[in-house]
Symmetry: C2
């Protein structure tokens, strides 16, 4: 890291006696922050993008308790003196183990404000700003100090005071889930109470009408795109944002534990970074690397065993109802001891071999199998421990034979560990479970946290669970196991630090389309601006059989998509772990379209956000890792749209064979979702192509360089 | 087991239309219970000892919630119909793996009342009574039923309605600790608020002024001794008792979790047994085996590795301040990474070898070492995880060499696992820690739970922790490891089921005398009637150097005892695990008195409670397992007392050499505690001996048969 110590600090304003204000400019002067300490010793900051203010003066600080939580400590929110200021400029690059680009530039100016209380305790608090050309990050540090060793954060008082009634893309604040349909409304129109009413989510704990989750995407009336989230969420709860509808000041609402306490800290301690990405172009938001840059480098030294991959799985069949997770199909605890097979169990040796054969034949790296282990008869909604032991297969799942067969076909098996949110049980079993995986050749695990958390009193997004997820990332890493978490907290860029933590669900996935009102056609045009800001999502795209009536004539559910859009998602929804989620037989009926899924990469040397508008459309081009091939995905919301693609990102003077997977004529997500056209043409860096996206549709393009 | 199905049930009263009452008599008619269902379908019971009523009509039932705890279910406390009644008589014997007697008689009459709600849900509840000649046990069973599968006990409504304002021996109700000085008062005078004020206990959670813990010992004005406790506390929280001072009705107050919920159950489920031991003789209370009989037989099949034992340890030195648990003596987390030895660390290889030598020389089976592992610099009062890892010794503790040395001397090492109440951390480490123990030859572990429990929201005595303690008993058993728990819930006879669970602390031990106001001289005359009703206590008797001024002239603390009384405790305070708690050098100064500790057994073929009055005195004779030797202990409270012992329990026609370890002339716990007289005489079954016990004194006798 290059550090340049600035020669001097510039005090820009001290109109008010004793008040101090510091201006911090981003490396190219595009973004700036004014940090100030008023005469009461209260800290605040403002944010500017070029000439526009995007953060009004916003408060900072904490309410604290002593370490046993039995009494309050004095607040740390005023009465501060500025002891000293450190600053430096960083301009460096680093290469992620996997990612959207080969090399990431990290260029920011940092200021550390060392504050000390004037009063008897004289406690110390550092506030650190990093100002980038596309946004800011700030965090708090509690240095080690005798007057503040072990303590509890009762509340964090960080504010994000917005300049107006922005358009927002939000989901309800919650302590346990993020699997909500996003809503688009002005801030003043936010009504998050619907979060309490959604019955389709296994466990939720809504907060109030005015509280929403991050990443919160907004657009101001004067054209600024603003995204608030956090980075490096470690040993701290997740942050929700509570909207003051009178002045559009958003304040931090941390996820509590059983006692309403937020974080148990020992100095030296630091909070996650609070991030605000800002630009006048929506595409810059998607291209921003602020959140990754604010995370620590990989803690895993040898990363050679970490491999992005595509996979199929015994999974969608359970969602569409043609198979069951459980062996007996009883959902009755009293029968668990004497299980009789129902004949509908998905995870049979025979069926799994069928998936292995399909994967081997079609260049799909892995096979996930859910419902392989005992416990599924009585796993749901009981808030109980010891449901699963993670080492006992059902009688019809021959783990040894499957391991042998998959290895013979060079297919990687992906283990499934549903914890039913009984995390205390899982933690007791972790080593045993991972040893079992290594013994039977599983290089990756998908974990799940469906239900109400045990330890009772903890929440999915609280500090104890945050530490659990990281414990899983570290423990799996120690076994050279890759991990994909379902129902965890939404990510904050920790995949930089733990690159074996390939993906998370942590949002409303494609599965909801199978058995609920589903996801609106604009869902995937919003997710990259919200959930994906923190990290890859295991969204499970690739559904070809779009209407559930195919499986059961009484069903009216459907995926809110065209078939071509499902292909485009492999590019627009970045993940190093991409499922081809549909049933093999559905792919076999459309092998021409499936060719795109076979071809598309899962790791990239470059990414171009060609166009984007949250809630409307996204077009992204990506260059496959170590290859000259590009893949393009373009999607729209419920509206028909024409997109013009300029291929100027291609190598000059080279020709490319483009295969275009487009919506068919008259395609429409609701009435005619499965028609598509596949065409081939040759393009160069001088080419322009116009794409017609159907309502709820999309387009995927593969580009192979002709050498 | 012999079951005798009784031919018919006798309806003894139905004065009120529809009300039903059943009388259940103990095998010899000494105790009886009347169970009734009134016309509202409410269940209640009364208890009689001979002609005296000791329990007035007392309610039964539950308040419930659904399994996620989000809403109430209808109460189960009225509207019951009696579907059927089963009854039988049991008269059997069984031999404990270790204990106070070789063979235990289990003789009771059982009634099961099968209740069904009249209303729509028609839920079922069984109430089971077992009536013994020395008391009663009752429990509830929830049979498996579709209308009540997974559910939460919000409150148990069991009552114990006493007949008057009895004299009670009580400690404050609490969710986390039982380390209180017992108080003797009438029920109406109970004021348990002092529990909130006691600073000397690491973590406590007092309930209210009127709530006390079990075992609750009482004496009625008309001479009945009554003890209320519970047996087989499994998958359920501990019970406190809340006193209605108007009518002396005691009601169950279960220990809650973070949400105030008491127990998460899945039908079929059963509660612990609620026990009432009753007699007109105090000695019968101490001799009662009801609580053991109400527990399940051993779940451990091969018990050959389970060995009662005496031990010394690197422990008391830390209490008296001549050594420290921690290596650096800093108690400062920030220094943990760069530890410098203070020179006062107790658990050094050299010092441990000194204890091993002392044990080997004096027929002491084992050596406990506390402070051997890293973490003690910053272990206390922080409510944090990951303090200890249980496998990393301090640099001056050579675990391999100590293992070799102890084995060469045939001394058993006892491992110490202080969890600092971070139970979630310990559970993650259990297997690793026990494998480490096996590798280094440790057959037993002392666990500790000092502090506030993590998972936060749980309490030491709540359902989750109850299950944890049992998990420890089972897990240690799977490694053939014996366990001694400190700071757990008070025991309920589970050592019958898990005989490797040798002892618990779970009360105010001798250690308090070293650094607090200590334990009153009557403390050990109360404990056998209260705490020890549930199982053995690791009280750590045997302190010879009684005044702490010996170690530091400024100290005024002392053990409230004479030296001879410390010897007597090895007999009066039953445990299969007895520490010789003082420093080797203090024993070496009194080897004549130490001879009793060398000789006394820790496992017994027979026990005679020769006399006893709670709070005043206890005299017990025990016959060593497989030998003809007897040992007698006699102790008094703060009052001087003369005790006459009749030796008629000795084998007729045999002579015994009695060595009598008595208080010296003018001995007195306060002013002259360390004087003692040792005398020898020959006795037979016709002998009588008068003992003079000093204030706070006692007497110990060993009897060796002359063959």
């Amino acid at each position: 890291m290059k550090k340049i110590i600035l020669p001097a600090l510039i005090l820009i304003a001290s109109q008010i006696a004793d008040a101090q204000e510091y201006a911090i400019q981003s490396p190219h002067g595009i973004v700036s922050v004014n940090f100030s300490l008023n005469k009461k010793g209260q800290a605040s900051y403002q944010g500017f993008y070029k000439t526009k203010k995007f953060i009004e003066p916003s408060g900072m600080g904490f309410e604290l308790k002593e370490s046993y939580g039995l009494k309050k400590l004095p607040d740390m929110k005023s009465n501060f003196l500025l002891s000293s200021v450190d600053s430096f400029l960083v301009n460096e690059t680093w290469d992620p183990v996997w990612g959207e680009v080969k090399t990431i530039r990290n260029n920011y100016r940092q200021y550390i404000f060392h504050l000390t209380e004037k009063d008897d305790l004289q406690r110390k608090l550092n506030i650190i700003f990093r100002v980038f050309d596309d946004g800011i990050g700030f965090r708090y540090e509690f240095p080690y100090q005798p007057n503040l060793t072990a303590f509890i954060v009762a509340n964090e008082l960080s504010e994000f005071h917005l300049t107006g009634n922005h358009k927002a893309f939000w989901i309800p604040g919650d302590f346990d889930t993020n699997e909500f349909q996003p809503v688009t409304s002005s801030l003043s129109e936010v009504d998050a109470t619907f979060g309490k009413d959604v019955n389709e989510i296994a466990f939720k704990w809504g907060i109030d009408a005015n509280t929403v989750q991050t990443p919160l995407m907004m657009k101001s009336n004067d054209g600024l795109y603003i995204n608030i989230h956090e980075a490096a969420l470690v040993n701290y709860p997740a942050m929700n944002l509570t909207i003051n509808k009178d002045n559009f000041n958003l304040s931090s609402t941390l996820v509590p534990d059983a006692y309403g306490n937020k974080a148990y800290l020992l100095s030296p301690a630091k909070t996650p970074w609070r991030t605000i990405v800002v630009s006048d172009k929506a595409t810059d938001i998607l291209a921003s690397k602020i959140i990754l840059n604010l995370n620590e480098p990989s803690k895993i030294k040898n990363t050679s065993w970490i491999k992005p991959m595509k996979f199929v799985g015994v999974w969608w069949a359970m969602h569409v109802g043609t198979a069951t997770w459980d062996y007996a199909g009883t959902q009755d605890a009293s029968n668990v001891k004497d299980l009789k097979p129902s004949g509908r169990h998905g995870a049979t040796t025979k069926n799994v071999k069928r998936y292995i054969d399909f994967a081997a034949k079609n260049k799909i790296d892995g096979v996930l199998v859910e419902g392989w282990n005992t416990g599924w008869e009585d796993w749901f909604g009981k808030w109980k421990e010891n449901v699963f032991d993670f080492i006992t297969p059902y009688p019809d799942f021959d783990v040894k034979e499957i391991n042998r067969y998959a290895a013979s076909k060079n297919v990687k098996m992906i283990m499934h560990h549903e914890t039913s949110a009984a995390v205390s049980s899982y933690e007791r079993q972790m080593d045993t479970a991972y040893r079992f995986m290594k013994r039977f050749g599983y290089p990756a695990v998908k974990t799940g946290y469906v239900g109400r958390i045990i330890p009772r009193g903890e929440h999915h997004d609280g500090q104890w669970m945050i530490n659990h997820y990281i414990r899983i990332a570290e423990k799996t890493a120690s076994y050279n196991i890759m991990v994909d978490m379902h129902e965890p907290v939404r990510p904050t860029g920790l995949h930089r630090t733990y690159p074996n933590w390939l993906a998370c669900e942590a949002a409303r996935g494609n599965e909801f389309n199978a058995w609920s009102k589903g996801n609106n056609p604009d869902h995937e045009t919003i997710l990259p601006f919200t959930r994906l800001m923190g990290g890859p999502m295991d969204y499970t795209p690739g559904i070809f059989e779009i209407k559930m009536s195919k499986y059961d004539s009484k069903k009216t559910e459907q995926v809110h998509t065209t078939l071509a859009k499902q292909l485009a998602l492999y590019v627009t929804m970045y993940s190093p772990l991409q499922m081809a989620a549909d049933l093999p037989e559905n792919y076999e009926a459309h092998m021409d379209a499936f060719q795109f899924i076979k071809d598309v990469a899962v790791d990239w040397d470059d990414t171009k956000i060609l166009n984007a508008e949250p809630g409307d459309y996204i077009t992204i081009a990506r260059k496959a890792k170590g290859k000259n091939d590009w893949f393009i995905g373009s999607i729209t919301d419920e509206n028909r749209r024409e997109i013009s693609i300029n291929f100027d990102f291609l190598d000059k003077g080279k020709k490319y064979t483009a295969i275009i997977y487009a919506d068919g004529d008259n395609a429409d997500w609701k009435n005619n979702p499965m028609v598509y056209n596949i065409s081939k043409q040759t393009v160069t860096s001088l080419s322009m192509v116009n794409l017609k996206l159907a309502p709820g549709g999309g387009c995927a393009i593969s580009l192979k360089r002709i050498d």
